[in-house]
Subunit: 233 residues, 2 copies
DNA sequence: TAAGATAATATGCATGCACATATTAACGTG
DNA sequence: CACGTTAATATGTGCATGCATATTATCTTA
């Protein structure tokens, strides 16, 4: 059975996609009901449903009960980013990974983070500064706060062998998080660490993760000059 | 029926998620077969299948025929970014949107783009420079190339009322594209357009879209200082 | 006629079943 | 014992059916 056969849900999806791309069904226009499509394609309604659900998930059609299915007016430009573990990203590029722990101590959470990262007032958090290398060239600079209430074992770990990121991924899985991307100028410290001219624009990522209501970690990663985060859509 | 009931596929998903988060099923470990889970939850295998498919899509479990389902070793740091139409993004923030077309002409494709954006050799492309404003403050600067072979009607459009982005979304839908994010320093031109000090780090996005094999447009958007692209994971 | 009750309808979902397909394990055979 | 064949098995998918649920259209009733 080939993919273009219309009697598999993927085949039906392909055909529906074609009709949308070829503007046979215009944006905003209502498309036939599941039952009608099922009859047309000579398959069960379930199968059409599967195809339509898939299109709805990718945002190409909008579905509402009773109201029917219509082609999305503004196909959301939705992209799935895969944020790799730095070591894996570097090794995938064929380079050798290593990291160096620049700093590790317990300290109160800095006031700027009080809003976003609500740990028990006055409790110390574990602070880590790490530099990630690819073939001995600096790749990314990391500043991380770990909530010891969420990961008490972290207090006794050095994080010189395994990186905090990898340890946390395996030992304190999160349920949800916030992620943001932005640009920063290399200041005094960053330019030294990342071997960049002072003032260079650097790509940065900030992430906070929670396990249910408990914040786990706040991490800010700043990449060496030239870094691009890519994806396909 | 509440979400936590185990006899709906979402309820089952919730329960499976709990077992993964609580490390009842460890990363890398194989979890029971669909049939066993169906029996345990007292539902049809199809329903368990639906829940597992959903978990697989979000990357939390890895499924292979015959081999079974196992908890992902490296829980995917996968994030879905929604790249909004700028006008909608600005209006959603409660600001007034307007844009101004700074430049519009036909020209050959610049050599740097020959690799990524393969239009017929020697053919002119439509070049647009646009500045997007939120409440009369510059919000983003856009440089765009449109392949006239993919969207011939664009040749006769002024793009002073409707933005090229919105027009293309509605009139030349793409099948796939490449997207990347990076940081740039504000040069002479950018600092003037975006009202930023020279050298300021700016967040930038580049996107190329195709309809099947035909390139449609190449766009580079550079945002005013302070811009953050956010998402939840 | 406006507001509220009621019916109609499209999608959402669960079930039981059958068969397809990929992958691994077991088995022969040279 | 290496290698190719075959069987076993877990997931993938399709179908017919029935009921659930959200939303709209229609029909009351004051």
């Amino acid at each position: 059975m080939s993919l273009s056969d219309t009697n598999s849900w993927k085949g039906i999806r392909t055909e529906l996609l074609r009709r949308i791309h070829d503007r046979i069904w215009q944006p905003g226009e209502q498309i036939p009901h599941e039952a009608d499509l099922a009859e047309e394609f000579g398959c069960a309604r379930t199968t059409v449903n599967r195809a339509l659900r898939d299109l709805a998930q990718s945002g190409l059609v909008v579905r509402k009960r009773r109201a029917g299915t219509r082609v999305a007016l503004n196909p959301p430009q939705r992209a799935t980013l895969t944020i790799p573990i730095i070591r894996e990203e570097i090794e995938a590029l064929g380079h050798t990974y290593r990291h160096s722990l620049l700093e590790r101590d317990l300290r109160p959470l800095p006031p700027v983070l009080h809003g976003a990262f609500q740990v028990t007032l006055g409790a110390d958090v574990l602070f880590l500064k790490t530099l990630h290398f690819a073939d001995d060239r600096p790749y990314a600079y990391e500043e991380r706060y770990i909530n010891l209430e969420a990961a008490p074992e972290a207090r006794d770990l050095a994080f010189d062998r395994i990186s905090a990121n990898e340890w946390l991924v395996h030992n304190a899985p999160y349920t949800h998080g916030d992620l943001s991307f932005f640009a920063v100028n290399a200041g005094d410290n960053l330019s030294r660490q990342l071997d960049a001219a002072e003032g260079t624009a650097l790509f940065a990522m900030e992430r906070i993760t929670w396990s249910a209501d408990l914040p786990i970690t706040h991490v800010r990663l700043i990449f060496a000059p030239g870094y691009r985060m890519r994806t396909e859509i």
